[in-house]
């Protein structure tokens, strides 16, 4: 009887182990594939020419494979989205966690979840039909598809992750901290910003990093509003991101060509960026737990 119980335990243990390994296997498979597919082109183009070249002309007669414009655009675009998105998201989270009435909190919470559930192609479509013509008229430009339009769309898209993760962190602050501060005569606002927020800072930092990850990896929405021309980034110019560089040309690149391999190399660079962001996130969360 005991033996049989042990056997069942072992079988279930094995099943769970296999299920867990599937995830690990996927990550490993993607990593190895990207490394194999991405490294040859970097070798052929040269690491410096690839990362710091400013010209991307894969179909021209004089072929150039420099991805600095993509890297800078992704960095600027993500930074811009963080600059706009983080203050809005952070203050919304403080308001929801500490000040808002439970009824209002549930309404705003639902709205935030809905925002998170909207597919990115819808963000792109609304951006293309409303935001891009709007920017053209507001700034009197010849065309509104620009880095600026992409930043606005990304800022809205990262709001849900920033709000939700900051909110969880703020709600996890022990009420004793706040009670003590209030008992000592601090006003509620003073308490929130001098006690609650510093206590939740690692969680809030994690929220920001998560937002960075979401913004840098987004392709569908930005491809529809950023214009996709390879330019060095400038706020009201048409630009191309790392993600959109891969997705807009992958289906047309001649199979086995250096062009296609270079697109894999771009994906590899993007992958390294995301790994770096994830590592930062893990570090922050670990520090938060201590």
């Amino acid at each position: 009887m005991n033996n049989r119980k042990q056997l069942t335990e072992n079988i279930i243990h094995g099943v769970f182990l296999i299920l867990g390994l599937i995830t690990v296997g996927c990550v490993l498979l993607i990593t190895i594939y990207l490394l194999i597919a991405g490294i040859p082109a970097i070798g052929k183009i040269g690491l410096v020419d690839f990362l710091f070249g400013t010209k991307w002309t894969p179909t021209a007669n004089d072929k150039m494979y420099g991805i600095l414009p993509f890297i800078l655009t992704s960095v600027y675009g993500t930074t811009g989205a963080i600059v706009i998105g983080v203050p809005i998201g952070f203050f919304t989270a403080v308001y929801l966690a500490k000040i808002a009435s439970p009824k209002l909190k549930s309404i705003v919470g639902t709205a935030v979840s809905l925002l998170a559930g909207i597919p990115s192609v819808v963000y792109g479509l609304v951006g293309m039909l409303v935001l891009v013509p709007g920017i053209r008229k507001a700034f009197n430009l010849p065309d509104g598809a620009s880095l600026f339009a992409a930043i606005i769309v990304l800022a809205v898209m990262i709001l849900p992750s920033i709000i939700n993760v900051s909110l969880t962190a703020l709600e996890a602050v022990p009420p004793e901290y706040e009670d003590a501060s209030l008992a000592l005569g601090a006003t509620p606002i003073e308490t929130y910003f001098k006690v609650s927020v510093p206590a939740a800072r690692s969680g809030i930092a994690a929220a920001v990093v998560l937002g960075v990850g979401r913004a840098i990896g987004e392709a569908m929405a930005v491809i529809m509003v950023s214009g996709n021309v390879v330019n060095m980034p400038s706020l009201f110019q048409s630009v191309r991101f790392l993600t959109t560089a891969v997705s807009s040309e992958m289906s047309y690149a001649v199979d086995g060509s250096l062009h296609q391999q270079a697109l894999f190399s771009i994906a590899l660079v993007l992958f390294l960026f995301i790994m770096l962001i994830n590592a930062t996130l893990n570090l922050l969360l670990k520090r938060g737990r201590k």
């Binding site: 002309t57 894969p58 179909t59 021209a60 007669n61 293309m128 039909l129 891009v132 013509p133 053209r136 010849p142 065309d143 509104g144 598809a145 491809i223 529809m224 214009g227 996709n228 021309v229 048409s238 191309r240 997705s247 807009s248 040309e249 289906s251 047309y252 690149a253 001649v254 199979d255």
Partner: protein, 271 residues
């Protein structure tokens, strides 16, 4: 009558049945898979539908991946017929691929309906897209900067447009979009934009310009007077035999019966 004789007769009857099977379309079974150009969606969809109507046992699939992917797919044997909206490159022909022109597609030069310009020459279009002419007033329009809307590198439409206007790698695009629909939407939303799209997908939200005084239409494309046009090509692998269903489909789309369907899809049949 011995058993051997019966056997021979049976074989003969079966062989006859197989031959007659090839003759009549309705008895074809199997699947036809096509893969490639997104520009050909409308025409190949219509052809596939009508083929399945007369051959109910055949399943027809079309995978809109783009000309390059379609050519790769047929080279790797992942589909029966590849669809390309450009002629094959030499390196692709060297891989043992052959092309058959199905139809000709006119590429319309589209502007916003608010634009007063009606007619441009190919040279004017080329200098606009190369960035030599940057203001609409230089070609008879309003005093406003021209906004160039194009397609991504490698797109069949871009390849067609740039090779016809001889502006390869020289276009100073403001936007490079990844689908015909996006180009139309963007041009419809910007009074100073100019773009290109296959004539079949041009809607009332944009205005198709005359080129050298010729309005783009089926007649002007067929007689060659409208010069901004490109082929729609069926790509097959040399030496690799098509399945019975795929062969029947191939014969059908190139037959006289298919002409009206191709015309209805807005492109000009080649045969």
């Amino acid at each position: 009558m011995n058993k051997k004789l019966i056997g021979i007769m049976l074989v003969a009857v079966l062989a006859l049945a197989t031959f007659t099977g090839c003759g009549s379309k309705s008895s074809v079974e199997g699947s036809v898979s096509t893969d490639g150009s997104t520009s050909m969606e409308k025409v190949i969809g219509a052809l596939g539908e009508s083929f399945m109507e007369s051959n109910s046992k055949v399943s027809f699939t079309y995978n809109p991946t783009g000309s390059g992917s379609g050519i790769t797919a047929v080279a790797e044997g992942r589909c029966d017929i590849g669809l390309s909206s450009r002629n094959l490159k030499d390196e692709e022909k060297q891989k043992g691929l052959t092309e058959t022109v199905l139809a000709y597609d006119g590429i319309a030069i589209v502007v916003n309906p608010e634009n007063k310009v009606e007619d441009l020459t190919v040279e004017q279009i080329a200098s606009i897209f190369k960035g030599e002419v940057t203001n609409w007033k230089e070609v008879g329009g309003a005093d406003a900067e021209i906004v160039l809307i194009g397609r991504e590198a490698g797109s069949g439409t871009r390849d067609g447009f740039e090779s016809i206007t001889k502006t390869e790698d020289a276009c100073k695009y403001r936007q490079e979009l990844t689908s015909t629909g996006d180009v139309i939407t963007t041009v419809a939303g910007n009074p100073n934009a100019i773009g290109y799209a296959s004539l079949a997908s041009v809607k009332e939200t944009v205005k198709a310009l005359k080129v050298g005084g010729i309005t783009p239409s089926e007649d002007t494309i067929k007689d060659g007077s409208y010069t901004v046009q490109r082929p729609f090509v069926l790509v097959t692998k040399e030496g690799a035999e098509l399945s019975a269903a795929a062969q029947a489909f191939y014969d059908f789309v190139l037959s006289k019966d298919a002409r009206s369907i191709i015309s209805e899809a807005g492109v000009v049949p080649a045969n």
